[in-house]
Amino acid sequence: MIDIHALTIIGGHYGSGKTEIAVNLAFQKKAEGKDVVLADIDIVNPYFRSYEQRRPLEQKGIRVITGSLGGTADLPALPPELGMMFDESDTMRIIDLGGDPVGARVLARYEDDLRELAFDFLVVLNANRPETSTLEGASRMIDEIEAMSKQSISGIINNTHLLTETTVDDVLRGDQLARELAAKTGIPYIMTATLAPLVPALTPLVQVPILPLTRHMLKPWEQEKPEGENYAWLHE
């Protein structure tokens, strides 16, 4: 079980896997018996948003809210329900931010609401993304996200991946970078997230808790008979 606040905000660089983690956390917290609401407030990306998963989420009884007409309008519009959500302290509330400092900017709008609240602001790190593959690049991203959002980041999630081509080595390289990033910034490195089939191999090698992921954010052609699913680790 992953220990996070009942209000958890997830940010990070484009392609870090924020959305996949937000959707997975929503399903897992629901399975733990909690009331869950997932807020997709990405004002940057028109495609591959958590709102696209609203049907399977809602089937499990998870509430999904969004702005920007669910990504179909390129408007930086925020849902009014979000402000009300802050008061629902009995509910597990997961906020999926847009990528980069520009996506994190929307949090500044809620500075007053958040001041009185206990919450987690987690940043997702993928060391296979060129902009965050080095300590310098990753810490710049953290600084910029904090400056733009006017909030302090409370934890780092290592989610180093290459989609279906991810290997144990990829995750371990991200684990190393996350540890260095924690040492440099003083922000705790709280967990590694990785595709479920990789978890057994990584459990003895990674010190932080591991969040097993199921891929929900599939490409249209992956819905049936996925091509090129090489899942390299299964053959290692």
């Binding site: 484009y14 392609g15 990306n45 028109p46 495609y47 591959f48 179909t72 309008a73 390129d74 993928n126 296979n128 993304r129 060129p130 593959s133 991946h161 290459l162 989609l163 081509e165 490409k219 249209p220 052609w221 992956e222 819905q223 049936e224 008979k225 996925p226 091509e227």
Partner: protein, 355 residues
């Protein structure tokens, strides 16, 4: 080299910089915004020029100017923005200027939707601008292929002195995939003796022009362009054919629908139907003869065009097949992506009709 995770649009921009592009002129529009965004951040680091122009019309005319002076130059936009560039593209073709134009297509017509589509096939392959002209149109189906086509596209543009377009649906621009960068030599790009680079008193001035007032001169210019286009048709056709023995039905698709059709081939195989995929990589010139030869095979009962449009490429498919087999269709529009199951069902319908 190690594989990295890249978003399609960012990868296209990075590939252009790696291919020696140092001039980018554009204007924002979803779903291609990451291209100018990436260029604005990274072009200055390599001493290049990024200009967010006042409009798409201005951007394409800046491309004309830079190309005329011999620069390796690029612009990008999405469907409605590419419409605005058509006059400039016609002028670039008329003045025989090399450049790379990237269209990350969204739904239309008009402002349409920001979701992915392929409804600009006619515009790209038939020319949205005036006059007898062609642009080479490359269609990537993976991010890796998009990166490789950027280099290929710049080189083709230089070789034939004509605009090259990369035509990709929004899904290719917005999705993430693993990319492996190959070393790309850019210090030995060919000389452009025709460019307006300053005579330095050593030669007669070069002239960049698409105006030929004398009809004889104008016809000669058109004949010259046409000879060039015939040369492109003879030498630069690219396609991928994955056609099994005893193939009963052939999908023809580019971009995202090619990935869907590949999944549909697997769906059909489980049902005992042998299907194959013919993927044109150059949309102009279209691999006509190559598709015709496959359609002629005895085992092939039907050909099915799969598009994220109401049916545009299907015209080229019908020209290629030339009546030897029936041509079916699976299409979605306005930002809706068909499912592999729908694509497979279209093949079954086409086979039923063929019997």
């Amino acid at each position: 080299m190690k594989k990295e995770l890249w978003k399609g649009n960012e990868a296209i921009a990075e590939a252009a910089i790696r291919a020696g592009c140092r001039h980018f002129f554009g204007y924002p529009i979803t779903p291609q915004n990451e291209i100018p965004e990436y260029m604005s951040l990274h072009m200055p680091k390599v001493g290049g020029v990024f200009v967010q122009a006042e409009s798409e019309v201005a951007a394409i005319n800046m491309v004309y100017g830079a190309a005329g002076s011999g620069a390796r130059v690029m612009t990008s936009s999405s469907s409605p923005g590419i419409s605005l560039k058509q006059e400039g593209i016609s002028y670039l073709a008329g003045a025989e200027l090399p450049c790379l134009i990237v269209n990350i297509m969204r739904g239309g017509p008009g402002l349409g939707t920001i979701q992915p589509a392929q409804a600009d096939y006619y515009q790209a392959t038939r020319g949205g601008g005036n006059g007898d002209y062609r642009v080479i149109v490359l269609a990537p189906a993976t991010i890796q292929e998009a990166c490789d086509q950027v280099r290929d596209g710049f080189d083709l543009a230089d070789k034939y002195r004509m605009p090259v377009m990369i035509l990709a649906d929004g899904m290719i621009g917005q999705m993430m995939e693993a990319v492996e960068w190959h070393d790309s030599k850019v210090d030995d790009l060919p000389e452009k003796a025709w460019a307006t680079t300053g005579t330095k008193g050593q030669r007669k001035p070069n002239i960049i022009n698409s105006l030929f007032i004398d009809p004889n001169e104008s016809e000669n210019h058109n004949l010259k362009l046409n000879r060039k286009y015939e040369e492109v048709k003879a030498n630069e056709i690219r396609y991928e054919a994955d056609i099994p023995e005893d193939c009963e039905v052939v999908f023809v698709a580019y971009g995202t629908p090619a990935r869907l059709a590949r999944a549909a081939v697997r769906v059909l195989k489980e049902e005992g139907i042998n299907a194959g995929l013919f993927r044109p990589i150059t949309l102009w010139p279209f691999p006509e003869r190559e598709l015709h030869e496959i359609a002629k095979r005895d085992s092939v009962k039907a050909v099915v065009a799969v598009e994220m449009s109401m049916g545009q490429m299907i015209d080229d498919v019908k020209i290629a097949v030339n009546g030897v087999k029936p041509v079916g269709f699976c299409g979605k529009a306005g930002g809706i992506v068909p499912t592999p199951r729908e694509v497979a069902d279209a093949a079954k319908d086409a086979l039923k009709g063929a019997r």
